[in-house]
């Protein structure tokens, strides 16, 4: 009897101790908030597709708003519009996704091998140029493609191709599956490159050398040692790249919509602009399903959790290099040419395009700084003033920087706190749950995530106001979408801080907040700072995440640029995208500089 009462008394007091622990309080708070911001939106989205909405009375007489129905799913899968709404876009998504992935992986794999394993010259400056297409917004590449291959058949002025060759480019070259696959591949090959280069760099040359010593030939070594070691990472890179391409919205929209070529992602947007919300949400769920399957498959190939996704790049690799001999310079020239074509030419095209008075006429007399410095002139571009005098653009620039800055800071701090909890309370199942919830946004294609927040914050729920149309909502979604990355960065930083450093402070009597402020934060700062910069750049070039949530008062550069592109104001949209591209490149340079500083400090310590 006494035993039982003692046990329960003990349990009660332990419980009391546990709930006044600030770490536990923070953990429960974060769990609740993230559940609301990550899991509930998905449920809400699902419910939305399974109930009649107000607008559905236009479509069906049986519609009773708020009641359960399979109507939207049936409409999407078996209705007369299903091939146009779902199956067509699905096939297009798979087609462009697979083609782009294969191209990106071949290019990325070959380049990774050249940079990591061969003695090709000029690696140091080729590597940053090769990653440029991934750093700039994807839709910069689409705009550059349009600049060259635009066809007046669809409307607007001819592109460079027609201006110089005198013939209109064939339509398949201007719009649709082909240009989308190519531009997607250009945008994503650096991603594949980084993943494969990482895997190649993990190969210890000694493994290969010992195979050589055992008498294996070079081919056998490659077949039995090198490939099996790299294969899982290679397959994972394949699937991850595919998963990324299917969520792309702006790029396929610009190069596909003019000829009614739709992918699932662009269809989500198109349906929302048509007011077919529920149908758009069905497609968003299909998109999430595709993304989940691809990530599940990639995880099965790479058992190692730590390689799930790559966040900070620019790491120096070293392993035994293979002499290319006489091929050294030809290969260098080929790689340099490729890097120039995909990394630099698109930016030059955008820059040139932005100073042409009339699109499509190539001559010195057609050059003008109007789109940068000119004031409103009703004869040019419907009276839109140049970038420097355009209040919309200046406001959008301010919004962009504000959004990127605030989101990056909040995401990093929350990411660090979550990382702290998951590392230090590894045995607590709630801490593990927190880690997993924070990872979930990674699984949502960004446009689908935007759609979720659209449904969640359209109306006030309880104490939470209708955030739609506010800047706060943009910050919220940006922070949540960056969490998987910032938690990962935080975990790396925290794991490097020995538990004893904190225990020593605990013994001195420091409270948890004091320890976090005086020990954890300063020690994690350099890692968190670079993570913050990654988030800053990421938020700045984000379009598909927020495109559905933007209202005129909360415009950012990317959405304004997208708007101009939709209206056919090529010069202005090019100028804007160029600004974003330059800003992101500056961000990356700062990041490299931070990284170098860190390396230098480390070296100092070791000597």
């Amino acid at each position: 009897m006494t035993d039982i009462s003692q046990i329960s008394r003990k349990g009660a007091s332990q419980f009391r101790r546990a709930i006044i622990d600030p770490v536990n309080i923070t953990m429960l708070l974060l769990l609740a908030v993230l559940a609301y911001l990550v899991i509930w939106p998905f449920v809400q989205l699902l419910i939305e597709t399974l109930t009649w909405g107000q607008g559905d009375r236009r479509i069906s007489r049986q519609a009773v708003p708020g009641e359960f129905t399979w109507f939207h799913w049936l409409q999407a899968t078996t209705g007369p519009l299903s091939s146009k709404m779902l199956y067509g876009p699905l096939v297009n998504t798979l087609k462009t996704g697979v083609a782009a992935t294969i191209l990106a992986l071949v290019a990325g794999g070959v380049l990774a091998w050249c940079v990591v394993r061969s003695d090709m010259p000029g690696k140091r400056w080729l590597q940053p140029v090769l990653t440029l297409p991934y750093i700039v917004p994807s839709f910069a590449i689409a705009l550059a493609w349009e600049t060259v291959f635009r066809s007046p058949k669809v409307g607007g002025q001819p592109g460079i191709y027609e201006a110089f060759l005198g013939v209109a480019p064939p339509e398949w070259l201007s719009y649709g599956a082909f240009p989308i696959s190519i531009t997607l591949a250009i945008h994503y090959f650096p991603f594949a490159y980084l993943l494969v280069a990482g895997a190649l760099a993990t190969i210890d040359s000694q493994m290969e050398e010992s195979a050589l010593i055992s008498g294996a030939g070079r081919l056998m070594t490659l077949r039995r040692i090198t490939f099996p070691v790299v294969a899982p990472a290679f397959v994972a890179a394949l699937i991850l790249t595919f998963g990324k391409t299917i969520g792309q919205f702006a790029l396929p929209f610009l190069l596909g919509a003019p000829t009614q070529f739709h992918t699932v992602a662009t269809m989500v947007y198109a349906n929302l602009t048509l007011g077919l919300d529920s149908l758009a949400f069905v497609l968003a769920i299909v998109l999430i399903g595709m993304s989940l399957i691809s990530i599940y498959l990639s995880n099965r190939f790479v058992g190692n959790k730590s390689r799930r996704f790559e966040t900070i790049s620019g790491k120096g690799f070293r392993s035994r290099v293979i002499a290319l001999g006489g091929w050294r310079w030809p290969i260098f020239l080929a790689v340099a040419f490729f890097a120039f074509m995909v990394g630099i030419v698109p930016l030059i095209l955008l820059a040139v395009q932005s100073v042409m008075l009339i699109d499509g006429f190539y001559g010195l007399e057609n050059l003008t700084p109007h789109f940068w410095t000119g004031r409103s002139n009703p004869e040019i571009a419907f009276g839109e003033p140049g970038v420097l005098h355009n209040n919309i653009i200046l406001g959008a620039t301010w919004n962009t920087l504000k959004l990127a800055f605030i989101s990056a800071i909040i995401a990093s701090v929350i990411g660090l706190v979550i990382a702290y909890i998951t590392v230090r309370r590894a045995h607590n199942p709630l801490a593990r749950a927190l880690d997993q919830i924070a990872f979930i946004p990674f699984l949502f294609p960004t446009i689908a995530f935007g759609a979720m927040y659209l449904t969640l914050f359209a109306e006030p729920v309880g104490p939470i106001p209708a955030l739609y149309g506010t800047f706060a909502l943009l910050v919220l979604i940006s922070v949540v979408s960056r969490l998987p990355y910032s938690v990962k960065t935080g975990v790396t930083a925290i794991t490097q801080i020995g538990q004893e450093l904190e225990e020593a402070a605990e013994l001195a009597g420091a409270s948890w907040t004091m320890r976090f402020r005086r020990i954890i934060m300063p020690l994690a700062s350099s890692g968190v700072l670079s993570g913050m910069m990654v988030s800053f750049v990421g938020v700045m070039r984000e379009l598909s995440l927020i495109i559905l949530l933007i209202t005129p008062s909360t415009r950012v550069l990317m959405t304004v640029g997208f708007g101009y592109a939709e209206e056919g104001l090529a010069q202005l949209s090019n100028a804007l995208v160029l600004i974003v591209a330059v800003l992101t490149i500056i961000g990356e340079l700062i990041l490299m500089w931070i990284g170098k500083g860190k390396m230098a400090r480390l070296r100092e310590k070791q000597s």
Partner: protein, 366 residues
């Protein structure tokens, strides 16, 4: 002033038992060393005292305060236990200067600046780091880092010092110097000290008492000389002493008496432990060798001669039985030689073969 009582302390990690019903009384001002092989629970015990681990059952009392009790639901957080600790890795905060590292504890206590500064100068001067106080830990040598950790412990003048293998990261020479210094600071501060180590030389030279642990249980608590002379079981006998003790399993001829043998050798221990199977523990110095044949001694062959600085270790073999003894460094003994061996009967410890426990001579003779 600050006596520590540990009563029936138990700590489990899942199904693994790290501490099994451990009880200890630590006198005020004592230098108690926890000694044992890795995984024996000594660090867990220290961390339970610090409050960094929560035991599953038992009680810890420091001075007059109960700081942990599973029955009374007391668990005082580490910062409120008024103790200082030196970690194995020193746990110096790399982003703070030496001075800030030492000052942290005073900051927590909200010590006024002039008093804190005075105290810092004093402590840093004491440990010989007065001129390095603006350096960062990464700019210091291992020995200097060790001193910072020590200064950090001393700054707030806690009545209890906890040390977790503080010298294990230093090279052998420095370790010797630091032993002396640690001991000096401890006795000046009159702090009750609990010191974890797996190095028996450290345990022997610094402690007032040693606690030998194995598999989460206390094996013996004794002053160092007694630990060496009278290990209470074969584990302690074997663990303490370098070169190792000779543990020889023997049987009584005819089941009782004072003469024991194993077919190779015969030993007369000169008293009757009343046990037919025993293990005799003979320290290397308890075995003497003579080059002169003697009727009361058995002849052994020398199978190894290992010079070791001031002494030389000799391996002796008779049949399948091998013994270790130590002689002076100027010995003329050579490999393959035959010698005659005497046991210092008074110094031998006798253990029951079945349990490994010491058979007390007094208890038997009374």
């Amino acid at each position: 002033m600050s006596k520590i009582s540990v009563r029936n302390l138990t700590k489990k990690y899942g199904t693994a038992i790290a501490l099994n019903n451990v009880s200890l009384e630590i006198e005020s001002g004592e230098f108690l060393v926890l000694l044992g092989p890795s995984g024996c629970g000594k660090t867990t015990l220290l961390r339970c005292l610090a409050g960094l681990e929560t035991p599953d059952a038992g009680e810890i009392i420091m001075g007059d305060t109960v700081v942990f009790s599973s029955e009374k639901n007391i668990m005082t957080p580490p910062g409120k236990r008024n103790l200082g600790m030196v970690f194995q890795s020193y746990a110096l905060w790399p982003h703070m200067s030496v001075r800030d590292n030492v000052k942290f504890g005073l900051d927590v206590l909200k010590t006024p600046k002039p008093i804190a500064d005075e105290r810092l100068d004093e402590v840093l001067g004491d440990v010989g780091l007065g001129h390095l106080d603006q350096r960062y830990p990464s700019e210091l040598s291992g020995g200097q880092q060790q001193r910072v950790a020590l200064a950090r412990l001393l700054a707030t003048q806690p009545p209890v010092f906890l040390m977790d293998e503080p010298l294990s990261n230093l090279d052998a020479r420095l370790r010797m110097d630091m032993r002396v210094e640690l001991k000096r600071f401890q006795s000046e501060a009159k702090a009750t000290t609990v010191y974890v180590t797996h190095d028996q030389t450290e345990a022997m030279t610094m402690s007032t008492r040693v606690v030998v642990m194995k598999d989460g249980e206390v094996q013996q608590i004794s002053p160092p000389d007694q630990l060496y002379r009278q290990p209470e079981n074969t584990f302690v006998a074997d663990f303490v002493g370098m070169p190792r003790i000779n543990l020889i399993k023997l049987s009584a001829e005819g089941g009782h008496g004072s003469v024991y043998s194993n077919g190779d050798i015969q030993v007369d221990i000169e008293w009757e432990p009343g046990c037919s199977e025993v293990v005799v523990g003979a320290r290397p110095e308890d075995i003497t060798v003579s080059q002169e044949p003697s009727p009361t001694a058995e002849d052994y062959e020398i199978t190894a001669v290992l010079p070791n600085g001031p002494e030389t270790i000799i391996q002796l073999t008779r049949g399948q039985t091998a013994l270790i003894t130590r002689v002076g460094h100027d010995t003329a003994l050579i490999d393959g030689q035959t010698v005659w061996v005497h046991f210092k009967t008074q110094a031998l410890n006798v253990y029951a073969a079945e349990t490994g426990a010491l058979i007390s001579r007094e208890a038997v003779t009374i």
